[in-house]
């Protein structure tokens, strides 16, 4: 299944406001840069940069408590919407959804 199809499928869900795929490579130090997005540029970069730090922190927290463990999913619920982050080794996917719609 290609990336496009995935994005389309997720986008078609109810209440989804935006999807961002961010590069997470730490070694080459170009982490936190968005690759693909459905939002406008300024918002995308904003989200990507901020959430990248959050994911790194969350992941390190989980791994410190138990080194065998790893972060699989992160959901940040706010008043207006919910940000769902699925991290991976090299990338992570951010989905912003408004659940009350």
């Amino acid at each position: 299944m290609s990336v496009e199809e995935t994005i389309k499928r997720i986008q078609s869900q109810k209440g989804v406001q935006g999807i961002i795929i961010v590069n997470a490579e730490v070694l080459i130090c170009n982490a936190g840069i968005p690759i693909k997005t459905t939002l406008d540029n300024s918002n995308t970069v904003h989200y990507a940069g901020l959430i990248h730090q959050l994911v790194m922190k969350a992941r390190s927290t989980v791994r410190e408590i138990d080194p065998q463990n790893d972060l699989t999913f992160l959901r940040v619920r706010s008043k207006k919407n919910e940000i769902m982050i699925a991290p991976d080794k090299d990338y992570f996917l951010i989905v912003i959804q408004n659940p009350s719609e």
Binding site: V3, K14, I35
Partner: protein, 899 residues
């Protein structure tokens, strides 16, 4: 052994020694002093001290005695010529020699004759020796050196004289040995010397021979056990040896004041004040490369599942939704009836002006709170009017202004040319009022002069003002000011039938002659729309028309001449319009199906919710207060069409309620028809027939496409663009509705007035089949209902009746504060109703494909009598309703639908 040394001999010796030594010291001291004296003398006098002769005086001076004769001769008489202070007397040697020769042996100088002879110099010194130092009273200095010595020693001699006398001539001598005198000390020493008194004894001790080399056993013996085993010398405190320090020498050293100080320097280092950065971004190629990588594909597939689960979870249920908190909202809507009672706030009726009259229209003042205007009209039929026309002239129709502070006297009276059925305040300038008359004319009033007076009217706050007014009015026979109208429209060009509805156009846009909405640069309301029973809707502009301005200057002048004849006190704001006012253009309402035209009663269009306060609060221009340039309407010109930008989002569609009970949907834009002439388009739809005259058409203040239409015994809610039927229609009630309006604060509340004087409150959130609350306020028919928000806590409803009384009712909190998500709920409700409409329409169309008339379908939805086989339709309908109920229950919204 203590022994005191015998003091006396030693001390004697010491004393002697001291004595001799003292003597010696003395002598040496005296030697020293003389020596020092000798050294004290000046450099010239370094002669060695003369030897002491046996007689006790130095050799170079000779004491002599001078007899008184000699003294007189040499003028050295004692106490006269020579004194102790002045002892020196130089004598000539020649004189002395002569004297010696003269008196030979008798001369006093004879003993020293030889010395005198040997004297080298001519002058010899004679010194008076007052102290008899050398034994005689005078002495003669024999040598030159001595004379010099003595002469030069004048001053110190005086000082040293005392010393000289006391001290002896001392000679430096080394102390000579003197034999030791024994004073008894050798005996002491002898006593101390330890000498053997006898010879020393030698003792040898050794063991018995047989014990040599034998075993020896040692044993322990404690020293404590045996009494005499040891001898102890305990130290004991010996008082004499311990000294009490009563005095102690310490030294104190003063130092300068010291102070400790410390400082710390701030180590400043450069810090960033602000940084400006921009985010990193991939270039397009890099992005493409990333997107195509295999890594991304695997990532996407693995991650998608997780994400979808999470999203669906959210959609299914909102886990953070607090049911408990929202429960209170639900409960509050089911309050008891007493809470929904409309309290009578005030009622206004005037004794002279309201007598036998009815109120045809109410309008609240947009800016001044507590001020409401009503139009008083005669409640006579046409024949009665004709017959009683003379009487009518005496009671001119009026618009009364009521203020809350004064329920008896109206604040202002506006004179009208004829009965007014509809009037409105200008939203941008509430001093301009436009009204539509019974005779088809439009009337304009300008009450700027009375604005100050009206401003002081507040509900309760203006009581003081009113009392003072009353005081004045007592003197002036209780006159309230009357304002004459300042302009009326031209009789030939205007309506030919009573104007039933008049509205201002919003200040955000204006209409050109073609009917196209363009932006309004003035931001003031300049256009008015009217509709009358002569089957036309007209658009009017209150500015000076520019096209015919030039040609009309002559006519204007004529008008001015006529105007000058008018009584004083009328504002001349609209003199350019007076009697020459023509409409901009005219919309005719031809019937769709049949010939003839619709007779409009009320109209409403989408973007013209002028008198609502909820929606347009943000849209209203900020400058709603008085502006200096606003009265210069005469200077505003209708701009030429080309300069203005047409506005796209203004809909040009009108909803018109007609006398026959139809709701007509038409577009007012002028279009070119076949012959090239500009004509108004035919109305696109005729949506409704209710068989009774429509009395209210009003757009909802919350939803731009929801319209309320009240006619006869029912009312209906329509949604724009949905032509299949009304979104909601009330069941036919027993009483005829004579007026209705939307609530200004709650999207789901409606107020209706009935023939019997009841006010019905409908709450669509709760019940859609019945009125929520009914309350009787008057005995006669209610003619007009208008809500108003006074301030956030007070929502008022003005209701007028046919007997000429204006009732102000207060809407209780429950009816004016919206429940949570009320707008959302209402919009959902409307959507569902629309869906239902669609569904039922399609179903019925399927049933009756030949019947294309969709309008008849929902007319009697309340009493369903379908043409098609009853059971099927009924069954389908029931199925549908059941599923609908299930869905509604699931989603938590309990709307009871019309069955």
């Amino acid at each position: 052994m203590t022994g005191k040394p015998p003091k006396s001999p030693a001390s004697n010796a010491v004393h002697n020694g001291q004595g001799t030594s003292s003597k010696r010291i003395k002598s040496t001291a005296s030697n020293m002093s003389i020596k020092s004296k000798g050294n004290d003398k000046t450099h010239s006098a370094q002669s060695p001290a003369p030897d002491r002769c046996l007689s006790g005086h130095p050799d170079d001076i000779h004491p002599i005695v001078l007899t008184s004769v000699t003294q007189e001769h040499f003028e050295c008489r004692v106490e006269q010529d020579v004194t102790s202070d002045n002892p020196f007397k130089p004598l000539k040697r020649a004189d002395i020699v002569q004297d010696m020769k003269a008196r030979a042996a008798v001369s006093d100088f004879s003993p020293i004759k030889q010395a005198v002879m040997d004297y080298p110099e001519e002058e010899m010194l004679l010194v008076f020796d007052s102290d008899f130092k050398y034994g005689q009273s005078f002495y003669l200095v024999l040598t030159v050196e001595a004379k010099q010595r003595i002469l030069s020693d004048i001053m110190p001699n005086v000082q040293n004289s005392v010393e000289e006398q006391t001290s002896e001539k001392i000679m430096q001598k080394t102390p000579t040995h003197q034999p030791w005198k024994s004073l008894g000390s050798e005996r002491e020493i002898d006593d101390e010397i330890v000498k053997d008194t006898r010879s020393r004894l030698k003792v040898e001790i050794f063991r018995v021979r047989r014990d040599f080399g034998a075993e020896v056993t040692f044993s322990d013996r404690s020293a404590v056990s045996a009494k005499d085993a040891f001898v102890e010398c305990i130290s004991h405190h010996y008082k004499n040896l311990s000294l009490n320090l009563t005095e102690r020498n310490i030294t104190v050293h003063a130092i300068a004041n010291t102070r400790t100080l410390s400082t710390q320097t701030k180590w400043t280092y450069p810090k960033n004040m602000c940084t400006q950065y921009e985010f990193r971004q991939f270039t397009e190629e890099e992005k493409e490369k990333c997107l195509l990588s295999e890594n991304l594909k695997t990532f996407a597939s693995s991650v998608a599942v997780r994400c979808e689960i999470a999203i669906q979870q959210n959609v299914i249920t909102d886990i953070f939704f607090d049911d408990w908190a929202t429960l209170s909202e639900v409960i509050s809507t089911h309050g008891d009836k007493t809470d929904s009672h409309l309290k009578e706030y005030q009622s206004f009726t005037d004794l002279c002006y309201s007598k036998d009259k009815m109120i045809s229209y109410i309008s609240w003042h947009p800016n001044i709170s507590g001020l409401i205007a009503v139009a008083m009209t005669e409640r006579l039929s046409f024949e009665q009017r004709i017959s009683g026309s003379t009487k009518l002239l005496l009671n001119p129709p009026l618009i009364l202004f009521w203020g809350f502070s004064d329920p008896i006297n109206p604040q202002l009276l506006l004179k009208c040319p004829d009965d007014i059925f509809s009037f409105q305040f200008c939203p941008s300038d509430p001093n301009i009022i436009v009204g539509g008359c019974k005779n088809g004319q439009i009337v304009l009033w300008d009450i700027s002069l009375h604005h100050e007076q009206l401003k002081g009217i507040r509900g309760g706050g203006g009581r003081n003002m009113s009392t003072t007014n009353q005081v004045f009015e007592d003197k002036q026979e209780n006159l309230t000011s009357v304002v004459h109208y300042c302009a009326v429209s031209s009789i030939e060009d205007g309506h030919k039938a009573p104007i039933t509805d008049i509205q201002w156009l919003r200040e955000s846009f204006e209409i050109t002659r073609m009917g196209i909405p363009v932006e309004n640069k003035n931001m003031m309301c300049v256009q008015v729309v009217t509709c009358a029973s002569d089957c036309s809707v007209m658009f009017w502009d209150i500015r000076v028309p520019c096209v015919i301005a030039q040609s009309q200057t002559d006519r204007k002048k004529k008008m001015e001449q006529k105007l000058l004849e008018k009584p004083h006190g009328i504002p001349t704001t609209f003199k350019h319009l007076d009697l020459s006012w023509r409409p901009l253009f005219r919309v005719s309402l031809q019937k769709i199906d049949s010939g003839g035209e619709y007779r409009p009663v009320k109209f409403s269009f989408r973007d013209n919710t002028c008198d609502n306060q909820t929606v347009s609060l943000t849209d209203k221009p900020v400058f709603n207060k008085e502006r200096p340039d606003i009265t210069e309407y005469s200077q505003l010109l209708v701009p030429s069409d080309k300069h203005l930008k047409p506005l796209e989002n203004i809909s040009t569609n009108l909803y018109i309620g007609t006398e026959e009970g139809e709701l007509v949907y038409t577009d007012w834009k002028l279009e070119k028809d076949e012959s090239g002439r500009l004509q108004c388009a035919k109305p696109s739809q005729c949506l409704f027939t209710l068989n009774s005259q429509v009395n209210t058409v009003q757009h909802s203040p919350f939803f731009k496409d929801i319209i309320l239409i009240v006619a006869g015994w029912t009312f209906a809610i329509w949604k724009e663009e949905i032509t299949q039927g009304p979104v909601m229609q009330s069941p036919y009630s027993e009483k005829k509705y004579s007026g209705g309006c939307w609530s200004l604060s709650r999207p789901g509340v409606l107020f209706f007035g009935t023939e019997d004087g009841d006010i019905e409150v409908w709450n669509l959130v709760e019940k859609t089949h019945k009125s929520f609350h009914t309350q009787n306020i008057t005995t006669s028919q209610i003619t007009c209902i208008r809500p108003w928000i006074n301030h956030s806590k007070q929502n008022l409803l003005a209701a007028s009746d046919q007997s000429g009384t204006l009732h102000i009712l207060e809407i209780p909190w429950m009816l004016h504060s919206p429940s949570k998500h009320e707008k959302l709920n209402m919009s959902k409700y409307f959507e569902k109703e629309v869906e239902r409409l669609m569904y039922s329409c399609t179903k019925r169309q399927a049933m009756r494909p030949k019947d294309k008339k969709n309008t008849n379908v929902d007319e009697q939805r309340g009493k369903v009598e379908p043409v098609v086989p009853e059971e099927d339709v009924q069954k389908m309908y029931e199925d549908f309703l059941n599923t609908k109920m299930l869905i509604l229950k699931d989603s938590g919204q309990e709307f009871r639908c019309n069955i």
